[in-house]
Symmetry: C2
Subunit: 192 residues, 2 copies
Amino acid sequence: MPRLKEFDEAEVLDQALELFRVRGFQHTSFNDLVEELGVSRQSLYDTYGDKQALYLAALTRYQERGLARIRQQLDGPAPLRTRLAALFEGMVAGQCSNGSPGCLMVNSMVELSPHDGDVRALAHRHAHAIETLFASSLSAALRKGELAKDKDPVALARFLYHTMLGLAVASRTHADQAGLRQTVQLALQALG
Amino acid sequence: MPRLKEFDEAEVLDQALELFRVRGFQHTSFNDLVEELGVSRQSLYDTYGDKQALYLAALTRYQERGLARIRQQLDGPAPLRTRLAALFEGMVAGQCSNGSPGCLMVNSMVELSPHDGDVRALAHRHAHAIETLFASSLSAALRKGELAKDKDPVALARFLYHTMLGLAVASRTHADQAGLRQTVQLALQALG
DNA sequence: GTTTTAATGGAATGACAATTCCAGAATGTG
DNA sequence: CACATTCTGGAATTGTCATTCCATTAAAAC
């Protein structure tokens, strides 16, 4: 009986995500969304709930994609250093794409996490997941002798996570991809 | 003839700065300012101009103080590594003080720099000034033999700047000073 | 063709916030 | 005391924005 949905929920969510990533939550009005996504106001409310819920859905999606990418890039036969270099290269490319808006998660951490418990919880889970993934790869490398015994995988994992944060902020304000890549090189030297 | 000013412009500006640092520009309403600063709305407008101008004045002040601090800490007889460690220690302490709101400049870069040319210009000057200060100290250390000849002072300076950005974001969301300090240690190992 | 659901455009609604306006009280100087 | 200036509290103004409401159209299922 029912009429079928005419737009792709996931696709529209991605468009909203991109708008939020560029403009931030507060600088993106619902009118902006209606205009840019090509879906009527009422349909957006019916499908995703209010602006806050839409944002949270976008952020959740972004986080899941990011973590999947990290898992995939870390999982391989190449030396850890090589895998990490590829991972960071992909991150830099992503953060600099579409006008260099940086990372939605980092932008959310700065703009919203002090005021919004849901965002804060997502950010904490994100940090924890990333640090855990890094730490487990680093521990494996340590066991294989790829990493010196005196290195601390947990501290190194957090260091790499902090480096990611810095790259994201820098990409949002400064248009200097070469500089970001040089920083990646230097950060990876911490592996010894 | 005139009645004298009854509040200290600089002191009130510092209070506004702190409010902006914690809550961000958009999450700080003019009413918040009136209530927290203990100065009437009209006096604020008369003294500083509108909210935007007040914010910019606070950010400018913050930037100047930060740069002065860096200059002062970098200028000394101790080994560069020691001076940088002290500098970063002070930064971490500052960003974690008063509820760990992070760095006003970094927060501004994320929240405002894409939309506000004045903020963007300040951020660019800030980055340039810091990188220049770091680079000149690193070059001096290189000449003195404190730093290996194969190191690139400019790239290292930018790396340290990027590290600062990451620490600021992390301090705003995660309450883990020990982790930040460990990251500082690891970052400084890039000096060799 | 009727029913059910989806979608749309546009008009209320209601809240909130920045800025300005105003009338009065306070405080130094001459 | 008179005057210039500052400060204050509060009201008025204005604009923006999220959200809801409504009337209508479209499409699939039966």
